[in-house]
């Protein structure tokens, strides 16, 4: 039993750094989602299962385990985007996906060793998505 406890503690210690990374990422995404207004109620789905689990656990924003029941997708990989969900609003976790998925309106991504946020203004307007004032400093007029 003692060994089991030590093992659990060791695993917790190992996971601690990764959790810390995820926690920060989740806090940023929560802040972004709260700053977005859609015409319908925001329900989030993500193809990143661990991210979705943490978002659900935090319970600060509404989430769904099914893409079809969501209104906002946080997408990490293009191959995970199902055809029946193409009509949803899409926020991506990779800058290149902004070019691949023409309707994706924003991204949280790593570039030059730093995390960045960007919203593409024309795409927000065309999809009637509004963002709060505190997100406006991340607006860009096009994908570079």
């Amino acid at each position: 039993m003692k060994t089991l406890l030590i093992l659990i503690m060791a695993i917790q210690l190992l996971l601690a750094s990764n959790n810390s990374v995820n926690t920060h990422k989740v806090r940023i995404l929560e802040t972004i989602v709260k700053g977005i207004t859609l015409q319908e109620k925001i329900v989030v789905w993500s193809d990143n299962n661990s991210l979705l689990s943490v978002l659900k656990k935090q319970n600060n924003i509404e989430t769904s385990y099914k893409c079809i029941n969501s209104t906002l997708i946080i997408l990490e990989k293009n191959k995970n985007l199902k055809e029946e969900c193409l009509s949803k609003k899409i926020f991506v976790l990779n800058y290149n996906l902004l070019s691949t998925i023409k309707k994706s309106f924003g991204a949280l991504f790593w570039k030059k060793g730093r995390p960045n946020i960007v919203f593409i203004e024309p795409r927000l307007k065309s999809q009637s998505i509004s963002i709060s004032k505190d997100l406006e400093s991340y607006l860009e007029d096009r994908v570079w």
């Binding site: 030590i6 093992l7 750094s17 920060h24 030059k112 060793g113 995390p115 946020i117 505190d134």
Partner: protein, 620 residues
């Protein structure tokens, strides 16, 4: 007035919200820093230069980092290259500094150590640097060194960009470097290239100009697939004017050092790794002297040496309950070829040209509980050279790391290790001294302790290291060769380091070290003060390095070298998201620690010369 106040409050609230998200991004960046994944606390006394540190320092080359490392002093070699001098060591000693670029250990056969080639390498492709002092892990590779420098290249998944930087300085030097990294399907790749021409102050000796101007080129390519494989290849060519050379009145000429390697790694089931590498190096050296070199008064030296190193390593990691066990085997072969040796009528003395090393190693990390870790390492090596000289050596290490309470922690290491002679000492070296094929390994016993106190935003570290060196290598001036000394050598050193982190962007570091040893020849103590700051969009870095005065004897009696004070400032400003302007002033007071070049004491040269560097970086 009321409206003005409302507007003011509105903007204050607005900026506070923006700040909040920016702060979250900053915290995310900090928590995800790569060094937090790669650092190995159990491997020794650890110094970390994070990516943000390196960027704020505007550390162009590795030597910009090395000059701040405690217990070492950056010096200039008489042939124009940089060398790191360990405090307390004699001037002819070859410091056993080991250099890793990612997982590849740069093994040199024709040089004193890897820094002769890579010491002035640009580190634009490097994410962070870890320096382990005193008690490097056996798992790091063969013949554990007194200091292990690990460079980790940028992670392509976090780069996703191309950057180019152009720099020039007050000596009209030019430095161009670029890095391109990203992801293609499942593959991560990084490509880096650098070309630079660095000009230095000129000196004069015996009516001859001493120049150490250099030209360097480097290319580095890495491709990998997560948990599957990694291939890294690198080529560097460094040439420099001969400076003083080996004599007293150099007539120009130059030395050139080329190094290339390819390192392939395959991971099986995430716990078995097979790696193989081939490296090739070339050292060309042309030195003509008006007076003559050495007692034979040789006027012209023209030498071209080539060497190859082959390595293959298989290691397995077993994680079982609270045990973390590593075992591995490695084979290494070093070969040296003398392509050209034109030294008037002298026939060179050449020792064994081939050395085979067979290694087996084990390392066990045992987590007694979440606050206490024991580590035991053992390594057994068998050496055989082409003169049939055989030698069996071993290295042992025991360490204990403990978190005593929320504020105090400690690291304790007990080590028995050895240091095998360099092929420069056993096989071949041009003129200055003779090789000694009969040299035996140096045996070292060490005890080290480090205590750390952490509270809120403060961190204080006290360190002590003591070692006894048996069969130490010393230079015999009569026989003009390295020999094993009969008397034991004793080294003791202490250091204290304090850090205060104002916030994620601002911190100050103060450090002091002292070495206790009878005979010096290099600074016995030193100090470092660094401040890393961000004010608005400006990044500001201040650095003050002190090295104590020392006396050195090159054969005509002791010459005094004054205290060295190097004050360096670096400021950068991002013009927009793509462009950044940087300015750096090095050795502002022109008082950095100097190296004696001649026995008469007339030529004293700082490794870091006074200069201002301006650079412009553009990211696509």
């Amino acid at each position: 007035m009321k409206i003005v106040l409302i507007i003011l409050v509105f903007f204050l609230v607005l900026s506070a919200q923006e700040l909040k998200l920016d702060n979250l991004l900053k915290e995310y960046e900090d928590s995800a820093s790569l060094y937090k994944k790669t650092k190995k606390e159990s491997a020794g006394f650890l110094l970390i230069y994070s990516r943000e540190d390196i960027e704020k320092m505007q550390a162009f080359s590795l030597k910009d980092i090395l000059k701040t490392v405690r217990a070492y002093t950056l010096q200039t070699h008489a042939i124009g290259v940089f060398k790191l001098q360990l405090s307390g060591q004699g001037k002819s000693a070859l410091p056993p500094v080991k250099l890793y670029i990612d997982n590849f250990e740069v093994t040199t056969v024709a040089q004193g150590n890897a820094l002769d080639i890579y010491g002035d390498m640009n580190i634009y492709f490097v994410d962070h640097i870890e320096i382990y002092q005193g008690a490097s892990s056996i798992a790091f590779g063969n013949s554990p060194g007194s200091m292990v420098i690990r460079l980790y290249s940028k992670d392509p998944t976090r780069e996703n960009s191309s950057s180019v930087e152009l720099a020039t300085d007050s000596k009209l030097s030019l430095n161009v470097r670029g890095v391109h990294a990203g992801i293609f399907k499942d593959y991560e790749y990084l490509f880096y290239a650098n070309a630079k021409k660095i000009n230095y102050d000129k000196y004069e000796r015996n009516q001859q100009e001493l120049s150490r101007d250099s030209k360097d080129y480097q290319a580095h390519f890495k491709i990998s697939r997560k948990d599957d494989f990694e291939i890294v290849t690198d080529f560097i060519s460094a040439s420099s004017d001969i400076f003083n050379g080996l004599g007293q009145a150099p007539l120009g000429d130059e030395s050139q050092r080329d190094y290339a390697y390819i390192d392939v790694r395959k991971h099986f089931n995430s716990d078995i790794t097979l790696s193989a590498s081939v490296s090739s190096e070339r050292k060309m050296f042309i030195n003509s002297d008006a007076i003559g070199i050495g007692p034979q008064k040789i006027k012209d030296v023209d030498v071209d040496i080539k060497s190859h190193t082959y390595k293959i390593d298989l290691r397995k990691k077993i994680v079982y309950e609270n045990h973390d066990f590593l075992m591995g085997i490695e084979f290494q072969q070093n070969k040296l070829n003398i392509e050209r040796y034109k030294v008037e009528n002298i026939v060179p003395i050449i020792g064994p040209k081939k050395l085979d090393i067979y290694m087996i190693y084990f390392e066990e990390l045992y987590n007694l509980n979440k606050d206490n870790l024991f580590a035991l390492s053992a390594k057994f090596d068998y050496y055989k050279n082409s003169f049939s000289k055989e030698s069996s050596e071993y290295a042992l290490r025991a360490s204990y790391i403990s978190l005593f309470n929320d504020n105090w922690s400690g690291k304790f290491f007990f080590i028995r290790r050895y240091l095998y002679p360099n092929m420069l000492q056993t096989t071949f070296t041009p003129i200055v001294y003779n090789p000694n094929p009969e040299l035996n390994a140096v045996h070292i016993d060490m005890a080290l302790a480090e205590l750390e106190y952490k509270k809120d935003k403060n961190r204080i570290v006290f360190g002590y290291g003591g070692k006894i060196v048996k069969d130490a290598l010393g230079f015999d001036k009569i026989q003009r060769k390295y020999i094993n000394l009969e008397d034991n050598q004793y080294f003791n050193r202490i250091y204290i380091r304090g850090e205060h982190h104002f916030n994620l962007d601002n911190k100050i570091v103060v450090e002091y070290f002292k070495v206790f040893k009878e005979s010096y020849n290099s600074p016995a103590s030193g100090m470092l003060i660094q401040s890393f700051n961000s004010i608005g969009k400006f990044s500001i870095y201040n650095e003050f390095t002190y090295r104590k005065a020392y006396d050195v004897d090159y054969g005509l009696g002791y010459v005094h070298i004054d205290n060295g004070y190097d004050y360096t400032v670096a400021v950068s400003y991002p013009v927009n998201k793509a462009m950044e302007i940087k300015v750096k002033a090095e050795n502002i007071f022109d008082k950095a620690s100097e190296t004696l070049i001649d026995a008469e004491g007339l030529v004293k040269v700082p490794a870091i010369q006074r200069r201002t560097i301006m650079s412009l970086e553009y990211t696509f």
